[in-house]
């Protein structure tokens, strides 16, 4: 970790908030990193056992290999969302959010710190799944920069969405609603386990409205050089979505919505 003395005094505020947010999930890493990694590896084990040899989505790509990038990306996205949303809702319910609200931190610094912590948690979980998964199957990487770009933008998008959810929700059950009725359906219906080309036309069209689809497909393109849609289109859609959500979040924070009466 960088020594605090290397940080300029102007950057010390947001840096401290980022450090606190990272320590918060790292202190309970068993729950915040190890648990999602094990869940993803169990999916991998079961689905590859059942479907390996029966399904071939892309020519020459074994089903297990096809599955891994989708599982990684799904976990990156879910954990980025979980980090910012659960931190905010906990601080609000516990009341300790006041410690941050009393400080001179600007809304942009507040946003950046929560966003970076969410990205770091998402990438940490994704990297661990990748390391776990390459024991099962040989994975070639065709476009490493695409993989990195989608992982970064995707976790940023979901981290931002988590901030919005955390600010909006007043109670844990409202937050659970976000998890169960938005994040889970969108991630399961995004083509993690299949190519959307295998779906009937109506469901194909519907899938194209799902932002998770573009993130998963683009990320997978980085591994195989093949996908359901051009990665540049996906990247633009994900990037534009991030900019829109970030703008909304900054507006909310600046107005003090639900945080400052």
């Amino acid at each position: 970790m960088i020594k605090p003395s290397l940080i300029s005094p102007a950057m010390r505020g947001p840096w401290t908030l980022l450090k606190k947010e990272m320590l918060r999930f790292w202190r309970v890493a068993f729950q915040t990193v190890a648990a999602p990694v094990i869940t993803a590896l169990l999916y991998l084990l079961i689905f590859s056992h059942v479907l390996e040899g029966h399904v071939e989505v892309y020519e020459g790509v074994p089903y297990t290999a096809f599955l891994i990038p989708g599982l990684i990306m799904m976990s990156v996205l879910q954990n980025a969302f979980a980090n910012s949303s659960s931190s905010l809702i906990q601080s609000k319910v516990m009341g300790n959010i006041v410690f941050v609200l009393l400080t001179p931190l600007t809304h942009l610094q507040f946003f950046s710190a929560f966003l970076c912590a969410a990205i770091i948690r998402g990438l940490a979980v994704g990297l661990c799944i990748y390391i776990g998964a390459i024991w099962f199957v040989d994975l070639h990487i065709v476009h490493p920069w695409l993989i990195l770009a989608f992982a970064l933008l995707g976790s940023a998008l979901l981290g931002t969405f988590g901030i919005i959810a955390g600010i909006w929700a007043d109670r844990f059950d409202q937050m659970a609603m976000f998890q169960n009725f938005i994040i889970m359906p969108l991630s399961f219906l995004s083509g993690v386990f299949y190519s959307i080309h295998s779906l009937p036309p109506f469901w194909q069209k519907l899938s194209q409205l799902n932002p998770f689809f573009y993130m998963i497909d683009g990320f997978r393109y980085g591994f195989f050089g093949k996908g359901d849609i051009s990665p540049l289109i996906s990247l633009s859609i994900v990037g534009a979505s991030f900019l829109v959500l970030a703008w909304v979040t900054l507006k909310m924070l600046k107005s003090g919505y639900k945080l400052r009466a």
Partner: protein, 301 residues
């Protein structure tokens, strides 16, 4: 030099409730100021606006000349606010929390010595490595105060810091806060314990239903509203006219006289002697803020 805090025409409404009705208040640097008032008077709302936790409906507040809305970064840098609610972050220990809190204000390792001084001064030194969750209620309260002080703010606001706190901590806390005040920190205190305000604070503001109804030095308030009170049991008599004006209360032969100085005692007694009225029992009470408080807040509504 700008005053520590300048509050001008602050109004705050929550729907139909007009919680603050035009507060004007200036607190000079180095003051030890008490803000008193019954529950619902608007003290905490005023402090929340000062802290930036709420936005005023109109009016403005400046901390050492910096507006709490338009120049919030500079204003908050100068403020240390102890919230009323006993909140804590369960993930960290006491020293970590203090370092984080100082860090949010841009303080780095050079501030660690001050953090240790705060821990020492509030009797938290041996709890520095204890998780916040494991602290007793009193210790959590100390940690909350320490957090507000972590960045060494020149203006310190304590919103009912001693609610539900034992005597030992109160003593320790006030010793430490008095020392900070001697070192030049401005202290603003809201409390329900009137004797605390009386012994500690040089000036008092009294709030009632969103307005400041009294604002003066503690001594002047005591003199003006209460002075000393002399309770005489005299029986069923009619008082000589020259002392009737001093009577504040009369109840079944017990007369309470409001006096501004001790010389008036002899004046009352000699008037009674001249009128041949016998004193059956006598009691002399020093005024306290409670009397001021009650006479301003109590009976009128």
């Amino acid at each position: 030099m700008n005053p520590a805090i300048k509050i001008s025409g602050i109004h705050k409404s929550f729907g139909n409730l007009h919680a603050l009705k035009g507060i004007d208040l200036t607190i000079e640097r180095g003051e030890f100021f008490a803000l008193l008032g019954p529950n619902g008077a608007g003290k905490s709302t005023l402090i929340s606006i000062l802290a930036g936790l709420m936005k005023p409906s109109s009016g403005d507040i400046a901390v050492m000349g910096f507006d709490v809305v338009n120049q919030y970064q500079k204003a908050r840098q100068l403020l240390g606010i102890v919230p009323q609610e006993l909140v804590f972050d369960p993930f960290f220990n006491v020293r970590e929390m203090l370092r984080f809190q100082a860090g949010y204000f841009g303080r780095g390792p050079e501030n660690d010595a001050w953090v240790d001084e705060v821990l020492e001064g509030l009797g938290l030194a041996d709890k520095a490595k204890t998780n916040m969750r494991a602290l007793s209620g009193g210790m959590k309260r100390r940690a909350l105060i320490a957090q507000a002080l972590a960045h060494k703010p020149p203006v310190i606001v304590l919103d009912e810091p001693t609610a539900g706190v034992d005597v030992e901590l109160r003593q320790m806390l006030w010793e430490f806060i008095k020392k900070l005040n001697r070192d030049g920190h401005t202290i603003i205190l809201t409390t329900h314990y009137l004797e605390e305000a009386e012994t500690l604070c040089s000036r008092v503001g009294l709030m009632k239903q969103g307005e400041i109804v009294a604002l003066d030095s503690t001594q002047n308030l005591l003199n003006k509203f209460a002075g000393k009170s002399l309770r005489l049991t005299l029986g069923d008599v009619s008082l000589p006219s020259n002392i009737q004006a001093l009577v504040r209360n009369q109840d079944r032969g017990i007369f309470t006289f409001a006096l501004t100085d001790m010389a008036q005692i002899e004046f009352v007694l000699s008037a009674l002697r001249n009128a041949n009225i016998k004193v059956i029992d006598m009691q002399l009470n020093e005024a306290d803020l409670e009397d001021v408080f009650l006479s301003l807040v109590g009976s009128h509504d």
